[in-house]
Symmetry: C2
Subunit: 191 residues, 2 copies
């Protein structure tokens, strides 16, 4: 998606370790009108998949999932990273490694909101190693819900996330695909 | 807002300690079309305040802030609860006590996104003790940004949050105001 590639090139900040910060429009400050355009594109890609729910993980996936959900007209559920006393005991749980924070954490979703018969589109901001998405797939498997695909804002194709998802038979659509980063310069697939 | 009071009465779950879970449409599963209506109401209330940014705190404020921001046509910024290596050093920081989790945590916002001259509308899902909002006010004070008000989805009027905000001269608008909870039954102000 040219619009997004241009925005990442303009506003993305490359950090050591091939990290691309998109804090200016998605991960800290949020440009909601722009995310609405990305949401429309996810809808174009997945509108024939019978999606009944969008699912993401707190916190940085929530904004894009909500803006996309307006187009699909289905609810969002976001998996939570910690068990709080506000969450019922009736949850599915999985364990995810965060490369960002360097720790494992438990991820939960209430059994009330994820059920057999649901056709779930996973939404996330970044696909790199795929650990967060794998956790969401595991939660859907536990619930007997079907994962119809994964909609990603920014993919780093030089990391194994897509391959891991595709080996599980999951369709992955990324709106911007970074093929490599050299000396702070971002190159997208096809350039 | 009658629509919201009805929804809280229908879908809210009262837990020990006067906790009202609104996980079914806001805090875990998100009804985006409904939140869009709440966002329109925030816009009606604050449209003459010259708002340049909506500000909330991760994670449960992000959804309602994004849906409201579509009406204001301004960016959202969400304060983050932990310093990660993806965040620049240039941040404002404050400390907030969470009654939900029973711990203090640091809350940060990048200096890049909150500046002198900003007119900030704070948005949050619940106002009870007001600790999270106070933290956001402190971040705005550090930045020299002006807080034009606080838009709250659900207020518990029997806890001190509103009073604390109003003593700081901050206008608080809550779309549903719970006056008391008895035996699991919710009563709103004016009933």
């Amino acid at each position: 998606m040219k619009l997004l590639e241009d925005r990442i090139r303009k506003d993305g900040v490359v950090k050591p370790g091939n990290i691309v910060k998109i804090d200016k429009f998605l991960n800290h400050q949020i440009d909601v009108k722009f995310l609405d355009e990305l949401g429309a594109e996810f809808y174009r890609l997945f509108k024939d998949s019978g999606v009944t729910k969008l699912m993401t993980i707190e916190a940085s996936g929530i904004a894009i999932a909500c803006l996309a959900a307006l187009h699909f007209d289905v609810p969002v559920i976001f998996a939570k990273k910690n068990k709080t006393k506000n969450i019922a005991d009736e949850v599915y749980k999985t364990r995810v490694f965060s490369y960002t924070h360097g720790v494992f954490y438990d991820v939960i979703v209430s059994k009330e909101f994820l059920r057999k018969g649901d056709k779930v589109l996973l939404i996330d901001d970044v696909l790199a190693n795929g650990k967060a998405l794998l956790g969401l797939v595991d939660l859907c498997d536990q619930a007997g819900a079907e994962v119809v695909g994964a909609g990603i804002v920014m993919e780093k194709t030089f990391q194994p996330g897509r391959q891991i998802m595709e080996e599980k038979g999951i369709r992955v659509e990324s709106l911007a695909r970074i093929s490599h980063i050299d000396d702070g310069k971002i190159t997208f697939v096809g350039e």
